[in-house]
Subunit: 443 residues, 2 copies
């Protein structure tokens, strides 16, 4: 514990290794995190990250609104505020949710530091170690990280082209309960799923709600992409048809700015009270400044017009990706066509391991996320997530071309040597799933 | 679970009452929180809250810096960033800490959503249910809330006019270990203590460090007020003399703006890695915008000159409070004279209950925080925290005058009826401690 050798500490063993909480065993660096450093090199086409493209934001409007906020309302915007969040913003949030058929009261909304924090607070409030959370297969890597960090067990239920499969959900519930375990909630992303690209159809939504009502399973509906559909009006949220059995999570990260970290949870009243207490413990209050900045932007700007532009930009990129996949990918690849959001889920030709292939892809200057990142149980090695949100259509096509080249080589190697590459590049010996995700037969 | 009766849900019993995690039993509304609504009425002089006075901030400078940030660096400031925090800000944080004798590397700093989140993340990383955290008696209410929420047991150790008492710490360590419990860390606020107003002397710091080194107890040093001393140079931080055994927490909430929620933890390298993973799970990343705003402010403005002005303003208010206490309080009251920070700790005349008296004080248009808020074990009912940070010197004197009036009446009632007020106003039957805090014999 001597303070005189700071450089040595870099290489020293962790002196605290025996002192951490048990939950830290579930806190490991995500595969996406390790990729960020690589994918940010300019020569690499990153089809990996989920960063929204904010280049179209009216920076002059935002800058002026924020400067006014400081000079005219600085003493409030720069001060502590309430744990629940700014009342005006909570009213505006209810107006945003009304676009998806939700009738809600601002008093049932809690503002969070991005909707990631909402997942964290809900899990903190509901989950003891060993409790089960049912998730789609695959599911959002950031939510899986929270569930692991709170020592939950994740049980996956399959999806098809219409989203979560009712029988798979019923089976997951029955099997979990038969094993004597407690289900705390179903975590679902019904619209423009991350990473699966699938959207739960309207009849399917009714069916899933029915199952959860009759089984008494709370639903955690995560909906960051709901307003980013490419065809017609937004779908009705699950929460629009069930107030008491659903906690709904929303975010301004995809419709405005992720750098302000403003998300929210809409919850049944008693749960909302618990979430505010958890928020006060976690941060005292979310930043007043950011909330008032979002509020001012919503008021000062035609934000819905802006979202319409975003939808058009993302649709163009989706089209570019699907066209390139169609033109360039080996015949054995399968993918779906998302109707909104940021992601395409692609299954690789049989026998190719997504994780083992990644270093070669990066050498060929293209990055993706291996499917294993989106399963809590090591499955998914035969699939990858491709995101079309950030690169331009030209770069997307170039990225797909590079990836197709890597795949062709992999298949050739495999045909010649019967395995994926040399030993040095085999990054893991994970079980290969028979099921690797939904809707990859839609191409 | 029918969605058709949203109003009824307000009065309905909590249908989730059996489903919450065990940790929610430790999540209760703090006494300070309940007071905020009352204390914000303009006719009440609040000596309760710990809100910094930010009226002196150069809003034109801040507004211009932030507007530039949006228009010139918007694509970065409004985007996702790293879980560890902005590298430039982390360098500046090291310069800030150097003012207290700390030599640190930016790579060992994690930016947090206020230093409250730093307490939360450290506790999350270290504490399993039942683990012990040693805290000063009294201690910061917000930290006690985190320890409770993570199901820790808090063991208090007494302070005197020089801060935490070495023998009390030794005794707390020995007794805890004798009981077979695990101590995860000592939580301490060495400078300008909240709520006790006391500062740990230099020799005492060396002694406390020695004890923790030899006993192998990690120190969590919370130092939001360190630069707000009224006399001379800042004290050397504990971390300045011990790098491996101390996690240091800092904040821009008191030296710049609490509404941006930018704090940090400086930790031994291996711990820092765990904290970043915990941060990624909690929020993905703290808001880039806020970090760059603080960074721009530190660069664009003579922030140390600003802090000097803050010190002078707070010293003037401290003087106003001490003078008013001296002139107006009943002889049986005792308080200390803080040399920095925001708070005076006052012990009431024997037999007067701080919580029971509070409603009468608010009726007399003055608010304070009862001492019980700062103990995990119900002690502290004979003391109160008085803050001098927010009201003007004139309002402070008026608040003290009102409080003195309430106290005189209480003492008179007590002399006549032998107890504190009527039954209707007795808010609790908490144990009355023989020890109620430090340094109250310094008046």
């Amino acid at each position: 514990m001597a303070p005189d050798s700071p450089d040595v500490s870099r290489t020293r063993l962790d002196t605290y290794v025996d002192r951490y909480a048990a939950r830290t065993q579930g806190m490991t660096a995500s595969e996406i995190r390790a990729l960020f450093a690589v994918a940010s090199r300019p020569e690499v086409v990153s089809l990996a990250g989920g960063m929204p493209n904010i280049s179209g934001l009216p920076l002059d409007v935002v800058g002026a609104a924020i400067a006014d906020l400081v000079t005219q309302r600085g003493p409030v915007a720069l001060q502590y505020s309430s744990g629940q969040g700014d009342p005006t913003l909570r009213e505006q949030i209810c107006e945003v949710m009304a676009l998806e058929g939700i009738e809600a009261h601002p008093d049932d909304v809690v503002v969070t530091v991005g909707s990631q924090q909402a997942v964290d607070l809900v899990t903190r409030v509901f989950c003891d170690p060993g409790d089960v959370v049912i998730c789609e297969a695959p599911s959002y890597v950031g939510a899986l990280g929270v569930f692991k960090a709170f020592q939950c067990q994740v049980v996956h239920a399959e999806m098809d082209a219409d989203g979560l499969v009712p029988d798979a959900l019923r089976q997951a519930i029955a099997a979990t309960r038969a094993a004597g375990k407690t289900i705390k909630f179903l975590y679902t992303i019904p619209s423009f799923h991350n990473p699966a690209g699938v959207t739960m159809s309207a009849p399917r939504r009714a069916e899933i709600l029915d199952i959860c009502r009759s089984e008494g399973v709370l639903i955690l509906e995560d909906n960051p992409y709901g307003l980013l559909g490419f065809d017609g009006e937004p779908m009705r949220a699950l929460r629009a048809d069930e107030a008491e059995g659903v906690i709904y999570l929303g975010s301004f990260s995809k419709t405005f700015s992720p750098g302000l970290r403003v998300g929210w949870a809409l919850a049944p009243h008693a749960v909302r009270e618990k979430l505010v207490l958890a928020q006060e413990s976690a941060t005292l209050c979310p930043p007043a400044f950011n909330q008032m900045a979002v509020s001012a932007y919503l008021q000062a700007h035609d934000w819905q017009g802006q979202v319409k532009q975003l939808r058009e930009m993302y649709r163009e990129r989706r089209d570019a990706m699907i066209e390139a996949l169609h033109d360039l990918m080996p015949a054995a690849c399968r993918w779906n066509v998302p109707h909104g959001g940021f992601f395409v889920w692609m299954s690789l030709p049989p026998g190719i391991d997504a994780k083992a292939m990644l270093p070669r892809a990066v050498t060929a200057r293209v990055a993706y996320v291996p499917g294993t990142a989106f399963f809590a149980d090591g499955f998914g090695s035969g699939s990858i997530r491709l995101s079309f949100c950030y690169p331009t259509p030209e770069r997307i096509r170039e990225g797909v071309r590079r990836l197709a080249g890597v795949l062709e080589e992999e298949m050739e190697l495999r045909a010649t040597f019967g395995a994926t590459g040399g030993h040095a590049l085999r990054l893991g010996e994970l079980p290969r799933s028979g099921y690797d995700g939904p809707g990859t037969d839609l191409s």
